[in-house]
């Protein structure tokens, strides 16, 4: 188990993961950006992006992944996402009301429509993606530490 943690799975899994990693990220981004015109949204997209990284971690082992994205940066992105969303909410005060949709609505069915909604989606995506990956990372590190101590 421990060996597998460090080195990851077989070469077949690694190759497939390498090929699909970008596609999954792309799909996540699509779901996020089109949240207001099609099913999906920031939350589902964020989880998909987090799952892409989790997939990478399961296939390549934790050391390789930790080199790409460190634990500190996940909690940093999470806080940034939270503050972004909170900031969008506060921006409503310009128009006089908490959470007011201050941006122009645009034409329906276009990507840039619906005022603050796409921006909210992006902020939630950052928050959820980083947050879920941080949870997963914390749990994995906890487990492996416990095993190493034994």
């Amino acid at each position: 188990m421990n060996k597998q943690e460090q080195q990851g799975m077989t070469i077949i899994v690694k190759t497939v993961t390498r090929l699909t990693f970008g596609l999954i990220l792309l799909y996540g981004a699509y779901i996020v950006l089109h949240g207001h015109v099609s099913p999906g949204g920031g939350f589902a997209g964020g989880v998909i992006i987090a799952l892409a990284f989790i997939n990478l971690m399961l296939a390549f082992g934790r050391d390789v992944t930790l080199k790409k994205i460190s634990k500190g940066s996940t909690s940093f992105f999470e806080s940034v996402g939270a503050i972004l969303f909170f900031g969008i909410a506060l921006l409503g005060f310009i128009g006089g009301c908490f959470f007011l949709n201050i941006l122009p609505k645009g034409a329906p069915f276009r990507l840039f429509s619906a005022g603050i909604i796409p921006f909210c989606n992006i902020a939630i995506m950052l928050k959820v993606g980083a947050g879920i990956f941080a949870i997963f990372l914390a749990l994995v590190l906890l487990e492996t530490e416990a095993k190493e101590r034994k």
């Binding site: 207001h36 015109v37 949204g41 603050i116 928050k127 949870i135």
Partner: protein, 182 residues
Amino acid sequence: MIELYVLLIIMIIGAIIAIRVEDLLSCVIAVGVIGLSLSIAFLILKAPDLAITQLVVEILCLIILIRATLRKDLPFSATGRWVLNTAIVLFFILIFLAAAAKCLKDLPGFGYPMMNVSKEYIEKAVEMTGAVNVVSAIILDFRAYDTLGEATILFTAVIGVLAIVRKIGKKKEGTKIEDEHE
């Protein structure tokens, strides 16, 4: 809606298996069956947003749970008054179901919701918010404050997990411990 009945029965069977089976891994897999059937049920109930979200969340939950249970023992123990306690719990559950069967008649029937407030959402969402996905319009504009709460809960969970996995929580008397670097 025959497929919905089938799905619900599959979910109930999955739940019973998850309760009865002694192997933890099988238990978690049975939960996966329930969750994925739920995702399909959402699709049949015309809720694609929910189906996508449920699907990805289910996968995530399964990964976390399987990692938690992998290669861990399962000592199966029944406490002393097993029969009595189970009988009491079953008794209360039966009362609850009987009462619910009587009371649920007051609700509007399946397939005929009242939709007093929702009617306005459906009629006005596009012109008022510009989003054609009414669910998106509700969660990020009409009821965005709820979504802020939801994001906060996830944030709380992350902070909470970080707090729980600390190696040393309490500093003992006399020993000097530097704060952990994470």
